[in-house]
């Protein structure tokens, strides 16, 4: 058997291939459901299954009508706009606050580090329904329910843990002597911070920001409780659609979102590679 160590018996080899098959089946399980909706979104009929025409690859069985729905229906255009506005604003807020905090947390002088870190990361763990109910009760008093501001604040709170994690990760490998070296070479501390620290944490900041954006973009439970009819986002619209009228427009939106995810994935991978290169890690 090629490539296998000497002591491998036939059972070893069988097991090895069996494991491979299982692994690929699991991967299929992960991917197929997502890919299946893509062709379904082009269904000319308002059904959620492959019509015989589609299977025969009859071009008449396919159509772009659901994509047209997205553009013509005011509900969807409003939802798309809201998702981006809220997502970007929340991401910026989370990134700014989170990055600054991460820098502080990375310092060895930080008091109560463990407790504060746990607190700042807790939005990731607490069930969304609890956060949503609590925010509803509390934001009501400040008139923040059914406003853009309320949603942006809420989503930023959810996105902050991600920013902290990614930026802290980039800072963890940060070699402190680089800083002293820069200072000893005559640079002012601020300049050194700007020229050395910032570029190194930048991939962490950007990927954290992306995480925060995606968290907001994909979030629906908080939106269910905090948004008014004017602030409906894409997931909120999909949620209604799935409950009320199952209509392949949702599949078209879903497909577009999948394309967006792929783009994000590529961006992140690029950033990760760049970060590794810059820091010279193995």
């Amino acid at each position: 058997m090629r490539g296998f160590p000497e002591y491998f018996t036939i059972w070893h080899v069988a097991g090895h291939y069996a494991l491979r098959i299982v692994a690929y089946l699991v991967l299929a399980f992960l991917i197929v459901p997502i890919l299946v909706i893509i062709p379904l979104s082009f269904n000319a009929e308002p059904f959620f299954t492959f019509t015989s025409g589609m299977l025969a690859l009859d071009p008449d069985a396919y159509s772009l009508r659901w994509y047209e729905e997205i553009i013509t229906d005011q509900k969807w255009t409003l939802a798309i706009r809201n998702s981006f506005v809220i997502g970007i604003a929340a991401a910026i807020l989370a990134t700014v606050l989170g990055t600054v905090a991460a820098v502080g947390l990375a310092s060895p002088w930080m008091p109560f580090k463990r407790m504060i870190t746990a607190l700042l990361l807790s939005p990731m763990i607490v069930p969304l329904i609890i956060i949503a109910a609590g925010m509803f009760f509390f934001y009501t008093g400040f008139g923040l329910v059914a406003t853009y501001a309320g949603l942006i604040i809420a989503h930023a709170a959810l996105g902050v843990p991600f920013v902290i994690i990614t930026v802290t990760a980039t800072l963890a490998g940060f070699d402190r002597t680089l800083f002293s070296a820069g200072v000893s070479l005559g640079g002012s501390p601020v300049r050194v911070f700007w020229d050395i620290v910032i570029p190194l944490i930048r991939p962490g900041v950007i990927s954290g920001g992306l995480f925060a954006f995606v968290t907001s973009f994909d979030e629906v439970v908080l939106v269910l409780f905090l948004a008014g009819p004017q602030q409906r986002t894409i997931p909120r619209q999909m949620f209604s659609g799935l409950r009320e009228q199952i209509n392949p427009t949702i599949l078209a939106v879903a497909t577009l979102l999948v394309v967006l995810s792929v783009a994000l994935l590529v961006t992140l991978e690029f950033l990760r590679r760049r970060s590794e290169r810059l820091r010279g890690s193995p």
Partner: protein, 445 residues
């Protein structure tokens, strides 16, 4: 680093460096060290302490803005919810005088005429303010069927003038409805008037206060069962993700880096895909006329379509699919770091593969395994969206009933109590997680 961006120019550099290099550093001024440990001079010690305090403050200042934000945006809401679960001043705000009057009542028969008159006066006021319905709802919670009594009585009293009410309010009340001569409705009023009450927590645990104040089981038993069901489903989901995720992570960890990165894309794509998209996919797959059923029928495996959607099964399988990356990523991360020579050594010494795996590899992969398992479990317990969309009735979890009480039955206090108990459960699990794994160890690819 950033915390020490602007070194204070007045502190002598040497002393600062001494403080930086930790306690009991290498002496104060430059120069050869004397033999034996040297103590810092008092002035140097004070400077060092001050420097330490300054650095601590500086680090803290970086975190402060976020801390304030999180306090407002996140912690305060949770606190509000906790408070809401035990604090309900509605009735106390509506009829304070009546509540004060009824305090003296012994709970049997009906309260004295003074109490009734006072209540009649209050009720007329509420009727005119159009808030009698709120009072009716609160009382109704303690004694179902009485809200119409309160409301109709209030309506009737609206037209009575104040003087008549002050003298014969009690009579008017008793004439309006028989319920006012029974103790039931008065007890309900008194209970509803309690500002701080544990009754919502009791309900959330399927208990209630008995007449004499002790705690007894409620007639309706829903919530404990639901908590149990939720935990059970979360356990199954965790096991499934483990069974599916372990081989995958194992294979990826034992592949070349480039191959592993390639496969990772297939794990990360679902992770990055919108939750609703994934749920939509499962609806499309499991529907009566969906892809799975159509395939099964086309293959002749079944004649009638199977009822796959809106069941416990669909909730479990959809959540397994959604949470699988959360299991694979930590597992892979840990497995990647396991030195293959251990297994090789064991096998070359004659060990059979399965015992070797169980004795050597599995224990070494345990940190990733437990991290993934706890993470999946904690997330499953609190999940709302997937059970809401694909679970139907049978696949409901505790979050769904919290949402029900928030949105449909209007019992916000009960929703808050249920949410608080859920939070307690999660905090306990999170504490376990932090204790054994460490929350800061989460790697995100």
């Amino acid at each position: 680093m950033a915390a020490s961006v602007s070194d204070a120019p007045e502190a002598p550099r040497a002393q600062a460096r001494g403080a930086l290099q930790g306690t009991g550093g290498a002496g104060t001024t430059a120069g050869p060290r004397a033999a034996g440990p040297k103590r810092l001079a008092p002035e140097d010690a004070r400077n060092a302490a001050r420097e330490v305090r300054r650095r601590r403050l500086r680090a803290f200042l970086f975190v402060a803005p976020l801390l304030v934000f999180i306090m407002f945006a996140f912690v305060a809401p949770i606190a509000t919810m906790l408070m809401r679960s035990a604090y309900n001043p509605t009735v106390a705000d509506l009829v304070p005088a009546s509540l004060e009057a009824i305090e003296a009542w012994d709970g049997e028969g009906r309260p004295s005429d003074d109490v009734l008159t006072q209540f009649a006066v209050d009720l007329k006021r509420l009727a005119n303010d159009r808030t009698s319905g709120q009072l009716a709802e609160e009382i109704n919670r303690y004694l179902p069927g009485t809200s119409s009594v309160v409301k109709s009585t209030a309506r009737g009293l609206r037209r009575v003038d104040d003087d008549t009410l002050a003298t014969s309010g009690a009579t008017l009340l008793l004439e309006a409805n028989d319920a006012w001569s029974e103790p039931g409705i008065w007890r309900a009023l008194r209970n509803a008037g309690q500002v701080y009450t544990a009754s919502y927590y009791l309900t959330a645990l399927d208990l209630e206060f008995a007449r004499d104040g002790s705690i007894q089981q409620r007639d309706t038993q829903i919530y404990l069962k639901l908590y149990g069901k939720t935990l059970w489903m979360a356990l199954i989901i965790t096991l499934l993700t483990l069974i599916l995720g372990y081989p995958l992570a194992f294979h990826m960890a034992h592949s070349s880096t480039s191959r592993a990165n390639f496969l990772m894309v297939f794990v990360l794509l679902p992770f990055w895909t919108s939750l609703l998209v994934r749920t939509t996919s499962w609806i499309a797959l499991l529907q009566t006329n969906g892809v799975v059923n159509s395939t099964l029928i086309a293959l002749g495996l079944t004649r009638d379509p199977l009822e796959l959607l809106y069941t416990q099964f669909s909730t479990i399988i959809a959540m397994t699919h959604i949470l699988l990356p959360f299991m694979v990523l930590p597992l892979y991360s840990v497995m990647r770091g396991i030195d293959p020579s251990y297994m090789r050594a064991a096998m070359s010494m004659g060990s059979r593969p399965i015992p070797a795996f169980l004795r050597i590899y599995l224990p070494m992969s345990l940190p990733g395994l437990s991290a993934g398992a706890l993470l999946v479990f904690i997330i499953s317990v609190g999940y709302y969206i997937t059970p809401a969309l694909v679970g139907g009735t049978d696949g409901q979890m505790i979050s769904n009933i919290i949402a029900f009480h928030m949105q449909q039955s209007n019992n916000w206090e009960l929703a808050a109590a249920l949410g608080s108990l859920l939070l307690l459960l999660i905090v306990a699990l999170y504490w376990l997680y932090d204790r054994f794994i460490g929350a800061g160890n989460i790697k995100l690819g």
